[in-house]
């Protein structure tokens, strides 16, 4: 099998898996309805209860799962390629931590209760502040080390501020609400959440997709890439703003969901011949597959307990990552 055919086969398999899990997600929930009946209710024009459940609860949840998963996979693949480091992940730039801080402040101040989109808007504002700070710190020449260090510093500061808000929270209920939000979830998200976040995610995807060929050339290092016509400042701009728009919006809606952006590109890399440009669509589909699967599992494992999505991805993702490290270590010996 030629390597191009293998690549097409990998993309095809991931697309089928994503589509299948999308429909499973649509038909999973506390309302015990059959698959055919749910889908009929979704497409029918009747204003009955099931149609309402499908259109207002399950459809946005499945669509958001798809888009947020794709965002995490794609941005993880881009950042690993840009920084030429398999340990890079979407949270590295401090965008997720800052978006979380925005959301936490919204909960603390009551903005999230005062008007319905207060929380995601505050989270987006957090992401915007982080990216502006990152740009100031990163400087003109487009170096990667300053980006990483600035990202670490921004993450640490946003984390500290989040702790401060928790520390000062007026009552245990507010603190609980904040902690629960931070665990990450897609429960009870509406079409409005989708309309708010989708434009940012789509804009981010376009910016990240434009990096396909530059990331391939970056395999040779940044000096060689620059000598081959890659404008490193443009690459940095697209990587930072593409990640900020898509991951900022994803975090604003679902909270911080870890490990998908780290593990998915890592697992898929050998399947696409380690070619960075090929890893982008594969990781986007892979991220969507994993997030949809996780969001189905939280509903199946503990239907009444509202198991949080971020908890599940970390419980599964961290040991899996350890195994990856173990395997790499053995290969290096």
């Amino acid at each position: 099998m030629s390597d191009r055919m293998q690549y097409v086969a990998v993309l095809g398999a991931l697309a089928v898996a994503t589509l299948a899990l999308f429909f499973v997600s649509l038909t999973t929930g506390p309302a015990d309805v059959g698959f055919g009946e749910s889908i009929r209710a979704l497409v029918s024009g009747d204003a009955d209860l099931l149609t309402l459940v499908m259109r207002e609860i399950r459809l946005p949840r499945a669509l958001l799962g798809l888009m947020i998963g794709a965002t995490l996979g794609l941005s993880g693949a881009v950042l690993q390629g840009y920084l030429r480091n398999p340990l890079a992940e979407p949270g590295l730039l401090g965008i997720s931590a800052s978006a979380s801080l925005g959301a936490v402040v919204a909960i603390y101040t009551g903005i999230s209760v005062a008007f319905p989109l207060g929380l995601p808007l505050a989270a987006l504002a957090g992401a915007v502040l982080a990216v502006l700070l990152l740009r100031v710190m990163a400087g003109e020449r487009g170096g990667t080390l300053t980006i990483i260090l600035a990202g670490v510093a921004i993450s640490a500061f946003a984390g500290a501020m989040t702790s401060l808000v928790l520390n000062l929270s007026p009552n245990p209920f507010a603190a609980t609400e904040i902690v629960f939000w931070m665990l990450g979830s897609l429960t009870d998200r509406s079409m409005t959440h989708l309309w708010l976040s989708a434009p940012f995610m789509l804009a981010g995807w376009v910016m990240l997709a434009m990096l396909a060929r530059p990331l391939d050339v970056l395999t040779l290092g940044s000096d060689a890439a620059a000598s081959m016509g890659v404008d490193m400042r443009r690459v940095q701009f697209l990587a930072v703003f593409g990640t900020a728009a898509s991951v900022g919006a994803a975090t604003a809606i679902a909270g911080a969901i870890g490990f998908i952006g780290l593990v998915v590109p890592h697992v898929l890399r050998p399947l696409v011949g380690a070619v960075p440009s090929r890893l982008l669509p594969a990781s986007a589909l892979g991220g969507a597959t994993v997030l949809l699967a996780a969001d189905i599992l939280v509903r199946l494992i503990a239907p009444g307990r509202d198991l949080k999505l971020g908890v599940l991805t970390a419980i599964v993702g961290a040991p899996f990552f350890l195994w990856l490290v173990w395997r790499t270590r053995r290969r290096m010996l």
Binding site: R84, L218, T219, L220, G221, S227, M228, G273, A274, V275
Partner: protein, 257 residues
């Protein structure tokens, strides 16, 4: 035709002046060896030409000011082999060499027949066809070096700038590489290579440029540049200088008294 023309070129790294008032013209068909002791400014000169290091002065590529060129325009005129031989991901050798075609491809297009021919030609010249399908990260140091040179060759730019291209190569592949560069010069392309091996430089380059402390102290055919006095003054060495049928023979013997 003049491929590269530098005048009053200066560069600083931090507070140290690394290049001062350099003037250099390279025409089609030249194989220029850029020689000089460590820290003389050889790498900085190449990097300044490529716009990787900020510099003051005039740089013209193919008769046009480099400052007004886009990165892509520059990449069609010059290829570069950096000293750091980074291969970040385990891609196949063939694909890695194929990256050299990137400056010629419009966005979102796939390589065509011309590109594939250029890649095959580059792999043949550097003798890496046998491991075309292997992962570039799994090769030995010398094999990697040859693959990266093939990548730069595949770019098919009229001017190639190579920073210590012979480092890590066995004698046979060092000579192969020198032959490849001399062959490019015969075809009307030009090569500027930073070299530490004076023997190779003396024998294969059509012209040597000797840098010391950021200035050009000698420029001309190897016989004129490599004199016992210069080797003593610039490098601080005494060397055997001789002739055989193939040209000048230079072999460092000891430190100068």
């Amino acid at each position: 035709m003049t491929l590269l023309s530098l005048s009053s070129l200066s560069a600083e790294l931090g507070r140290k002046t690394v290049l001062r008032d350099v003037a250099l013209t390279v025409n089609e068909g030249e194989f220029v060896g850029l020689i000089g002791p460590n820290g003389a400014g050889k790498s900085t000169l190449l990097r300044a030409v490529l716009g990787l290091t900020p510099s003051q002065g005039n740089i013209e590529l193919g008769g046009h000011a480099a400052a007004s060129m886009s990165a892509a325009q520059r990449a069609r005129l010059t290829s570069y082999l950096p000293q750091e031989r980074e291969i970040a991901w385990p891609v196949t050798v063939e694909r890695l060499v194929g990256l050299g075609r990137a400056p010629h491809l419009p966005p979102f297009t796939r390589p065509g027949a011309t590109d594939e021919a250029a890649v095959r030609d580059a792999m043949r010249r550097m003798d890496v066809e046998d491991f075309a399908a292997r992962r570039a990260t799994e090769l030995s140091g010398g094999e990697k070096a040859r693959v990266l040179i093939a990548r730069a060759l595949a770019q098919e730019a009229p001017l190639m700038l190579a920073d210590e291209p012979t480092a890590g190569l066995d004698p046979a592949h060092q000579i192969t590489l020198m032959r490849v560069f001399a062959g490019l010069a015969k075809e009307g392309r030009s090569v500027i290579a930073c070299l530490h091996d004076l023997g190779l430089a003396a024998r294969w380059c059509s012209r040597l440029v000797l840098l010391a402390n950021g200035s050009i102290v000698a420029d001309g055919p190897p016989r004129d540049v490599l004199t016992a006095a210069r080797l003593r003054d610039v490098y601080g060495i005494q060397a055997y200088l001789g002739e055989d049928g193939g040209g000048l023979v230079v072999h460092p013997l000891d430190l100068a008294e």
